[in-house]
Symmetry: C2
Subunit: 144 residues, 2 copies
Amino acid sequence: MENLVAHQLNERLATSGLRSTVQRQQVYDVLLQRRDHPTAEEVFIRAKTGSPEISIATVYNCLDALVKCGLVRQVNLDRSATRYCPNMHEHFHFYCDGCGTIYDIDSPAKGPATLRVQVPDGFTIGHCEISVRGSCPACNKKRE
Amino acid sequence: MENLVAHQLNERLATSGLRSTVQRQQVYDVLLQRRDHPTAEEVFIRAKTGSPEISIATVYNCLDALVKCGLVRQVNLDRSATRYCPNMHEHFHFYCDGCGTIYDIDSPAKGPATLRVQVPDGFTIGHCEISVRGSCPACNKKRE
DNA sequence: CTAGGTGCAAAAGGTTTGCGGTTAA
DNA sequence: TTAACCGCAAACCTTTTGCACCTAG
């Protein structure tokens, strides 16, 4: 049944005028297997275990293609390496200073949409990114 | 009366265990003169017109010192060079895709604080950064 | 006097690019 | 068939580092 995912990927690539290649499927698989927001280099390492001949330039190219066709989001925290996230639901990122984990935080179903930011009249929002740093529940417990 | 600013800077540096130097004052002056969120390189270029012997490493060091003592904020948009902002009021940044201007957007005095983000129980927020991309009033008008 | 800061140049990430060969459509 | 893509290596941009000299406290 992973053909379902593969099929969806191919369709998305096609709609964006991009080709379906084995490398792009591998890179997307890597992102779906462990949704831990890996960097390009981490994706490269994981992809290499499956197909050792893949290159880092290709990984960047593939990640770019996935971003272009709307299946993957880039996550930028500070100046460190860009991370990649296959969760396309509206959410923001919480980086734990204690353990380094990045959590996806979804907009609460009820109440005002936390992810909608207000801008003065005349401005129009194209894209909005929220990132929060702090301590996660596990690290907070440890500290007690 | 710029002595007032200089005095405040020195005090802040001292409280953080940092020394007052002419370079740190120059860099801070550059940031205050035009609050247009320059990159380190732009600060470097502007500072050099006053004192041509300043080095880029020193500019980075000074900006770092100013961030450490709470007079300046870093602004990271995408992967481009870090920008520096001497506005320490609670606000977020709006980047105009049309003209490249970065606007400071303040939290509206009334209504729910837009800059406060909700996180699930157990998480504690240390720092929160919001950045929005879109089109500014001037560019929206032009497009009509 | 001396810890901390400066200037210079070299190195270190992270990402992009150029190019000859390969492949999806 | 051919434009798009791959792999490799070199280049690029931003930031950091090492080191000898300098200076604020």
